[in-house]
Assembly symmetry: C2
Homo-oligomer: 410 residues x 2
């Protein structure tokens, strides 16, 4: 028996392991994996970049870099952020080994065992797993199609004896719910948090993946809004726009938060790979980012369109969803009598997988949703998958209808 | 004022920041940086590997991989470890983002605030900084040229009311002391730890960098020794044999330790870069590792030889060191009346830097040593640097000699 520390074996960590396995099973139709499709990566661009690096720069790829990030990448990120209206001059940028590391650093920076974190329900499971590992108590706040439920949030805040350390949200093309916060809801949220000392963690992993350029203004980060007294840590990622294999993310925060974050990062992995940072820097500086994002938007939109059409065509009545304006995910709401976990078991037998909503519930309870990820889907499989899913759902609905009325009300 | 967590701003973390800055100052003669020389990286081999990857494998570079590591890399590591006599079949390998992440994971896995960790004094400053960040109490055990001081270790263990969580050592070409544990000392250490429940962390970042192949058997890991009842976690790194920019390390541990380590890693960065793992796998599988290590051994040995000759030629009496049989470091012991930190200030004015011994003291006190790293030194600068250093040392010795006798005895 080992005398392990109190670092928790996160309940959701098992879900993630399962999820990773299911996303890559041979011969499966998988709506499970929230990752880009292998065929969409900018391989040709990275080839060209790699083979045209100056010798001195290429040698730098192999070397240690500063803990805070490869300076040219920090400058490139600063420019990108300034264009989004973010305060990237007064605040400081820390490059991280994926944006999950940023969430991990922030959690270590603020959370002692037993501290309270507010999160959306549903919430990105990777973040839940980090919060659990460090022994935080997570309180989920419901969201609707316009964003976090302000009234519920106010009630929770008022009910707490000790203030929560932070609120973690994903306002742009939420994972798993697919929603985009409205401007009104963003402002309402900032108003609620103003002056409360509750830090807002704004995870913007998907903000660049709007399907329609007219929606771009709606993705404007909360951290760029003026006139509110809220401390916001903004996090972003290259995983969705270059590839998760790069393990590159970043956070923008006040200098004080940045400084302690740097020390924590130093004790986590000393620095992020210079190799990956240099390729990413060149990708931005050679002007490849914008056309590549345009390409991705078209590709993901096509997949979303096929999925939307297929769902409308095949789903039985009672199944609801919000058509997403960007990102990777469609969030299906099931009628009361259908359990997502039961659906999952039957779908798996037919070679179809998705992620049950419970995975994204901090309490691991709600069983009335499922997440369909279309980002990693071959276009030709989408309708096939939806037909299979709808058949299984119909089976579950039918089973319920044939139950005696007394049972229905249980 | 932020309500930060109790994660500590490590005292040694400032030292590391300074060290990183000093290692790379323009126009300096730097014995400071414990990193490989930019001109020694296997750039041509990695070029060839990158440009000959199968399309499917290249796409995998961009994608998420399993938290435990890219399976072909795990298999390659397993073969390398088995050849070193390590139990890589019964125990499990976790790929990490640099071996510092392995140390960080192990610390999170076992250490609660206030727990005791035993370490060598001097000790790798990166590890000290990790232990401090998680609030551990570090007890340093002295080392001599044959390894850790067994008697001192026994005394400390006997004196402790609660058992320490682990002992962290670097038996092969120690950083900063440069020593190689003798077989006798290895066995004595294993005997002391047998049956105590104190886990041994064996950091083997430098084991492959012996200067003379007859010394290779002496680098045999403690974890490969049979007949002792000691739980050993073995860590290794690609930083010294491929490049720190890859951020690739690994740990070998019992399945139970591995399992919890996997969960912790998942909450740190989800997985290590597939891109870097795939290049490293090919580097091993195409047979580049062995000839590259042979090349490095010759290069580093040459640097060590020049440094050794220069020190013998120029150092005043009273300065002592052990000629290293491998690795990156020479550890100079100063006479009582010379303070390393005072030397450092005067050397810096002359454009010469090294690391003061205090940096590697868990208590941050001992001021009687300095570390000269020859790994990153252009050969032609070594003697120049030693002449400068010896002049400054002579100055400090002289200053002392001219003091009144009464002052000398203070």
């Amino acid at each position: 028996m080992y005398a392990f520390s109190r670092a928790v074996n996160s309940m959701h960590s098992e879900d993630i392991k399962l999820l990773m396995k299911q996303s890559s099973g041979e011969g499966l139709i998988s709506f499970a994996g929230g990752m880009p499709n292998n065929d969409l990566f900018p391989v040709a661009e990275i080839d060209e970049i790699y083979n045209n690096l100056d010798d001195d720069i290429k040698k730098l790829c192999f070397q240690y870099g500063p803990t805070t990030g490869y300076p040219p990448l920090v400058r490139s990120l600063q420019n990108l952020m300034l264009r989004k209206g973010l305060p990237a001059k007064s605040d400081k940028i820390l490059v991280t080994t994926g944006s999950l590391q940023a969430i991990s650093i922030i959690t270590q920076e603020f959370v002692n065992e037993g501290d309270i974190i507010l999160a959306e329900n549903p919430c990105f499971v990777g973040a839940i797993s980090v919060f659990e590992t460090y022994g935080a108590k997570i309180i989920g706040i419901p969201i609707d199609k316009e964003g976090i439920d302000i009234e519920a949030l106010e009630k929770v805040i008022a009910s707490l004896k000790s203030p929560p350390k932070f609120l973690y949200i994903t306002p742009n093309f939420h994972n798993p719910a697919g929603i985009l916060y409205t401007e009104q809801r963003r402002r309402a949220l900032l108003k609620v948090l103003s002056g409360t000392d509750i830090i807002l963690i704004e995870d913007d992993a998907y903000g660049d993946l709007f399907f329609d350029s007219k929606d771009q203004p709606l993705t404007k980060p909360l951290k760029s809004y003026k006139g509110y007294d809220v401390d916001i840590i903004y996090t972003g990622s290259f995983s969705k726009i270059l590839g998760p294999g790069f393990r590159l993310g970043y956070m923008l925060s006040s200098p004080e938060i940045f400084e302690k974050a740097e020390s924590i990062k130093q004790a986590l992995d000393a620095c992020t790979s210079n190799f990956m940072q240099i390729l990413a820097t060149e990708f931005i500086e050679r002007g490849y980012l914008r056309p590549y994002l345009d390409f991705l938007r078209i590709e993901y939109r096509e997949r979303k369109d096929i999925l939307q059409r297929s769902l409308k065509k095949h789903m039985p009545k009672g199944i609801k969803w919000v058509e997403p304006q960007g990102g990777f995910y469609m969030w299906l709401s099931l009628p009361d009598q259908v359990m997502a976990t039961a659906l999952f078991k039957d779908c798996l037998k037919q070679g179809l997988v998705f992620v049950t909503g419970r995975t994204f519930d901090p309490e691991n309870v709600n069983d009335d949703h499922l997440r369909l990820s279309f980002s990693n889907m071959p276009k030709e499989d989408i309708e096939k998958g939806v037909i299979l899913l709808s058949q299984v759902i119909r089976g579950h609905l039918k089973e319920f209808e044939t139950l005696e009325p007394s049972k229905q009300n249980q």
